[in-house]
């Protein structure tokens, strides 16, 4: 199985760094990249990740990435999860939910 490429980008640096550390430790087979939010679009085009975990999904993320998680946009309790085009809103997203998303088999290739 190919290594899953995950791009983490959060406007709150502590969130991005903590989630990146957790994913690297708990999902050692994944390639985790962390980027400042202002470079998210550029890095999506460059790295072509399979999954983006971010605080605000940009248009490029929504259109070009197979799966993405918008983690606590506006610092609320809700997160938006979009897996291979199927989107849902999740309240109180747990780290285990994120791990399940990372470990889920890919059903579609990135269109980017």
């Amino acid at each position: 199985m190919d290594t899953k490429r995950i791009l983490v980008s959060n406007e709150l640096r502590s969130y991005g760094e903590a989630v990146s550390v957790a994913l690297r430790v708990l999902c050692p087979n994944a390639a985790v990249f962390e980027v400042e939010h202002r470079y998210l679009t550029r890095e999506v085009r460059r790295l072509r990740p399979d999954l983006v975990v971010c605080s605000r999904a940009t248009e490029v993320v929504r259109e070009q990435v197979a799966s993405w998680v918008e983690l606590y946009p506006d610092c609320g309790s809700l997160s938006e999860v979009c897996l291979d085009g199927e989107c849902s809103t999740v309240d109180d997203l747990q780290l285990s939910d994120l791990l399940d998303i990372v470990r889920a088999p890919q059903r579609a290739a990135s269109t980017g």
């Binding site: 760094e17 989630v19 550390v21 957790a22 430790v25 610092c75 309790s77 285990s96 939910d97």
Partner: protein
């Protein structure tokens, strides 16, 4: 201080109080990787945090301010008032300096914005463990000034509100319902000119310059209800 029973080697027992579970759990993992820390409890609310400190021996708490059942500053005050010997570090996404200041006044040892990096957060807790002061006296004084200023503004606002007559409050409530001057006059069975007089008096008493400002003031201090 080094004691005979080797307290200097004891890990610092940390409580994380944060309602964003995936961040809190990831942060716990980060602290757990450091030899000198043990995350003994995690709480997503003040209620859970109270249970945690009742059940566990805690040396330090990293506390968010915006919690579902209240402000983290209230929990920090409880800890300080209870003389529990727990150091507290605020970690918040708030952009309001007054909220950080209130937390310091309540007893927080330090404050960090969530835009800080993990290194800064871990380092701040490490410094608390070493007994270092996280805030300079000048920072503390400035924060206490902020709290004092805010409290003074709130007292002045309350005094202004107390000066409003019953009729003026009714005018404000009608304004909050989206009515214009003529509609307010009709609703309260007063003349257009009388409504204007009431409004001028309201603006003067509240120290604002427009109907919109009066409405914002009234909503902020609960003088009117919207919806």
């Amino acid at each position: 201080m080094i004691t005979e029973d080797g307290v200097e080697n004891r890990t610092m027992r940390i409580l994380l109080v944060e309602d964003h579970a995936s961040f809190r759990q990831a942060l716990a993992l980060v602290f757990g990787r450091e030899d000198e820390f043990t995350v003994v409890a995690q709480a997503g609310s003040i209620a859970e945090a109270r249970e945690a400190i009742a059940a566990e021996s805690v040396d330090a708490a990293v506390v968010d301010l915006a919690l579902p059942d209240g402000s983290g500053a209230d929990f920090i005050r409880e800890i300080a008032d209870g003389k529990m010997n727990i150091s507290t570090l605020v970690l918040s996404a708030s952009l309001d300096p007054a909220q950080f200041a209130e937390a310091v006044e309540a007893g927080a040892s330090g404050v960090l914005h969530k835009s800080a990096g993990l290194h800064d957060i871990v380092d701040a807790v490490r410094r608390m463990r070493a007994g270092e002061v996280l805030l300079s006296p000048n920072q503390v004084i400035e924060m206490l000034r902020v709290v004092s200023r805010k409290r003074q503004e709130e007292q002045e606002a309350r005094r202004s509100i107390d000066r409003l007559t019953r009729r003026e409050r009714e005018v404000l409530q009608a304004l909050a319902e989206g009515l214009d001057s003529k509609q307010i006059a009709a609703k309260l069975h007063i003349t257009f000119e009388t409504e204007r007089t009431h409004m001028v008096n309201i603006l003067n008493k509240l120290g604002v310059h427009s109907r919109l400002q009066a409405l914002v003031f009234a909503v902020r201090y609960g003088v009117v209800e919207i919806g």
